[in-house]
């Protein structure tokens, strides 16, 4: 690999890692604060992508679609928390997992009924539809860089929320000790609702932003679900920073794995995970 390629591959890794972070951040947040393994996270990603498709078709602009889509996703998340998850906090983790498993089936079928099973594309907003020449034959799409910027902004915003706000105080003090949090005089039901809605919105946002480059298709959620899980496992329970570090590690492992050890590229990421677990059974940045 020559130096120029190496640099571009590094850029690829960073960009992919940041996108993965965007997908995984909502998962780790819900996971860390509510103690729920949300298998339907991939479905929220899928729902986001379809929202982007439907709303972009209707309004003609992805930006507008995102602006409209985020409140919809937040409301949808809050509704699900109210209707379903709020009844299960005292139950076993297992039952919560199965609930989300049931939701995947429901969401996929509803998607099929409402939007059909075709593959769709979403147009990149005109002002981002350009590319930067990197080598004589290769250029880099501006839209990808823009997504990276959004991911960085989001990471900073999450950092701010976690470090500087009351909600963040909970997250840091946090985990699922309801008694302690209630003793602090915080309405935990409201916090859970907000966190879950936020988790859904983050997944949906990831889906909306990824829609123009990944296209929109049935079962797209299950593709990102597992890799998000690996990131959360590597990063450590509920740690947003852990998720960021882990997403970047996975981004690099996947990119360079494909180029350097193509035979093993499917399992490189899992090998990384196994090594991390040997070294730190609770993930790189265990919360607390």
């Amino acid at each position: 690999m020559d130096f120029a390629s190496f640099l571009i591959q590094t850029l690829n890794s960073l960009q992919y890692g940041l996108l993965l972070f965007l997908v995984a951040s909502g998962l780790t947040l819900v996971f860390g604060i509510m103690g729920i393994i949300n298998l339907a996270h991939g479905s929220f990603y899928m729902i986001g992508a379809y929202l982007a498709f439907v709303l972009t078709s209707a309004t003609g602009s992805l930006v507008l679609a995102v602006v409209l889509g985020i409140p919809l996703a937040l409301a949808f998340g809050a509704f699900l928390e109210w209707a379903l998850f709020s009844h299960l906090y005292k139950r076993d983790h297992l039952e919560q997992v199965l609930l989300t498993y049931g939701l995947i089936l429901i969401f996929e079928q509803l998607r099929s009924l409402l939007v059909g099973d075709d593959v769709h594309g979403v147009a990149i907003p005109a002002f981002l539809d350009a590319s930067i020449q990197l080598t004589e034959v290769m250029s880099y799409p501006v839209y990808r860089l823009a997504i990276s910027v959004v991911c960085i902004v989001l990471a900073v915003a999450l950092y701010y929320v976690i470090q500087r706000t009351r909600l963040g105080m909970m997250i840091r003090a946090g985990n699922d000790d309801r008694g302690m949090v209630e003793a602090l005089g915080i309405n935990i039901n409201m916090i859970y609702r907000v966190v879950f809605a936020l988790g859904v919105a983050l997944a949906a946002l990831a889906g909306m932003l990824a829609a123009p480059i990944s296209s929109v298709f049935p079962n797209m959620g299950s593709h990102v679900l597992i890799i998000s899980f690996v990131i959360v496992v590597i990063g450590g329970i509920g740690s947003v920073w852990g998720a960021l570090v882990a997403a970047l590690i996975v981004g690099f492992a996947d990119t360079f794995g494909k180029v350097l050890v193509p035979e093993l590229s499917g399992i490189v990421v899992y090998v990384v995970m196994a090594v991390v677990l040997l070294w730190r059974p609770e993930g790189i940045l265990k919360k607390g």
């Binding site: 297992l94 049931g102 499917g266 995970m273």
Partner: protein, 321 residues
């Protein structure tokens, strides 16, 4: 105490199932055979989830590894000996469970669920992406293993009725074996771990070793189910290891009520029956299935096994008034 009282319905159920081949309908013989295989699989998982408190979301890996092992170990044009491929495949699953257990048992609770899922996914990709077992297309097992011992053939697995009773016999043996194991000192420790692992440690139990033992045993029995599946259908695919399969078997355990071996069997029957019936009624069966899963989780925390108790309580409540 009321072992005899609960024994009778079990024997009746066993007798009914044993009559299935009398129908002569090969589809039903095979489909019930498959459900029995899934019941064995569910029991093996229940050992972990219901009795040891280890919620594994990657149990399909051990099912799939043994299934692949039979397909790979069997020569292409002749039948392998059952007495070689059976222990070998089950042993491979046990070995995989042992090695993976060394990693995953270092974690606890919700984290354990995720890590088992991730490791199973790794196993999935090994079969999906390497030519080891035919890659993504899967692999045929063209000749079912032969049961002959020095020329004497006690039964013939290519005969669907023999195959059915072979599976049923394995199911009964696994049930009796697990019931016995749970009574043993080892089993009592597992139940203690589920109840309060920390206390078990302070009583001097190296709980990691017991959990590893349980994980390996569950992997081996899950492998036994996978072996039977491969022999029954003669076809293996990476999808057998996918997380959907792990989720399905967890559902069976939940449906039957965790920590109840007979419940796990009932859960397998209920799950498969639901799937069949919904798929027959409508194209949108996934919607129904998803709805049922959500409803069971919300309204039936004890699974189906909890239903009689609920009815009893409701009736008693009524009488009291």
């Amino acid at each position: 105490m009321n072992a005899n009282a609960s024994l009778i319905p079990k024997l009746v159920a066993l007798a009914i199932v044993a009559c299935v081949p009398l129908s002569g309908e090969s589809f039903y013989i095979e489909i019930v055979g498959k459900v029995l295989v899934m019941a064995i699989f569910a029991m093996s998982l229940d050992l972990l989830v219901g009795f040891t408190g280890l919620v594994s979301f990657g149990h399909a890996a051990y099912f799939g590894i043994a299934a692949y092992a039979v397909a790979i170990l069997s020569p292409e044009y002749e039948a392998a000996s059952l007495w070689y491929v059976l222990p070998a495949s089950v042993g491979l699953s046990a070995l995989a469970a042992f090695v993976i257990g060394l990693f995953v048992l270092r974690t606890k609770g919700i984290y354990f669920i995720m890590v088992t899922l991730a490791f199973a996914q790794m196993a999935y990709f090994i079969f999906h992406d390497t030519p080891l077992g035919g890659g993504s297309d899967g692999k045929y097992l063209n000749n079912k293993p032969s049961a002959s011992i020095f020329g004497w053939e006690p039964f013939d697995l290519t005969n669907e009725v023999h195959m059915f009773y072979f599976i049923l016999a394995v199911l009964v043996l696994v049930y009796l074996f697990l019931a016995r194991v749970l009574q043993s000192p080892f089993g009592r420790v597992l139940v203690g771990i589920k109840s309060n692992e920390h206390r078990m440690q302070s009583l001097g139990y190296l709980t990691f070793r017991y959990k590893l033992g349980a994980f390996t045993l569950a992997g081996a029995l899950g492998g036994l189910a996978g072996f039977l599946y491969a022999v029954l259908f003669g076809f293996v695919t990476p999808e057998l290891l996918s997380w959907h399969e792990s989720g399905n078997v967890l559902l069976m355990v939940i449906l039957g009520g965790m920590g109840n071996l007979a419940g796990a069997i009932a859960g397998a029957f209920a799950f498969e029956a639901m799937r069949e019936i919904f798929a027959d009624i409508t194209k949108y069966w996934q919607l129904l299935m998803g709805g049922v899963i959500v409803a069971v989780v919300l309204f039936l925390p004890g699974g189906l096994a909890g239903v009689p108790g609920r009815i009893k309580r409701a009736l008693q409540g009524g009488e009291a008034k």
